[in-house]
Amino acid sequence: MAALDSGGESKSHARGGKKHKKKRRLSIRIDMTPMVDVAFLLLTFFMLTTYFSKPQTMELNLPKDQSPIEVAESNLMTLRVASDGAIFWNIGTEPAHRVEMKELRKFLEDKNKENPKLITLLKVDRDGKYSMMIKLMDEIAIAKVTRFSLAPMNEYDKRQIQKARAS
């Protein structure tokens, strides 16, 4: 039924048309070309507009009020992200050290193994990139660090970063 007639045989078709009809009513030929054309058009349309990868989301729970929670200095690790994306870490009030993005996952895992009570504080520079925050939070999630918090970066943190850069 859906056979397509290529151009050449239309003549013979036209010639035999009358005879055919007289003989039998059964074999009717419908030219399906336009329908198939439309079908392909729709097919390409749907293939191009469809998208399969739905965005993922990262769930975040922030504490309700800012009632300060007291943490022992040795249990607090601060991760600071400078505006150019450089990452610095320190524990308590120790001077900050630089850590590379690639090593971060392993680093976080090690530090948390060393001290299971460790709390991570993430501070991102206002002029930094949003994607840095996502990347770091992703690394933190992958390293299975559940106790972490976000904090705004202040002047003190900036000074710490500068000190770490200088040394």
Partner: protein, 154 residues
């Protein structure tokens, strides 16, 4: 001349299987397609390994584009009309400043307490505006929200 032409061109190909497959694909794509929801601004999502799928209904989306401008969008048209006025009913999201965002978030939560908050920031967006938004969310007592990311392929 006509005789030669006839000999050469008179052939038939049975297109049935091809058309069958095409129709099958067509129905498949028609059934599974989901159109990209329209966006106020083009957003390039950052990548993460977060496992949750983005919810589709009862959401309000705070968008930060790459210049750091903030947009607020909700998924129901009725709520949009209520929050942003009749004229903005058909817009997916409306640009808001910080003060407005604070009030609109409260209003939206009053009209639909089930609303979930999504923060959708561009990969290259500066962190400053995002930090402000997180601050506003804390102020209006939205402590649970989601950050929209793209699946990390690596």
């Amino acid at each position: 001349m006509p005789k030669i032409k006839k000999k050469r061109l008179g052939f038939k190909i049975d297109m049935t299987p091809m058309v069958d497959v095409a129709m099958l694909l067509l129905t498949f794509f028609m059934m599974t397609t989901q159109f990209r929801p329209d966006e106020a601004t083009a957003i390039e999502l950052p990548a993460s390994h977060a496992p949750f799928k983005m919810p589709e209904t009862d959401v309000m989306i705070v968008t930060v584009n790459r210049e750091g401008r903030t947009f607020l969008g909700v998924d129901s048209q009725r709520l949009r009309a209520q929050l942003f006025g009749e004229g903005n009913k058909l817009k997916p999201a409306v640009e808001v400043d910080r003060k407005q965002l604070h009030d609109l978030l409260i209003q939206a939560r009053i009209s639909n307490p089930k609303l979930r908050t999504l923060v959708k920031g561009d990969k290259d967006a500066p962190f400053g505006p995002v930090e402000d938004i997180l601050d506003i969310l804390r102020q209006v007592n939205i402590t649970r929200f989601n950050l929209v990311t793209e699946m990390d392929k690596s």
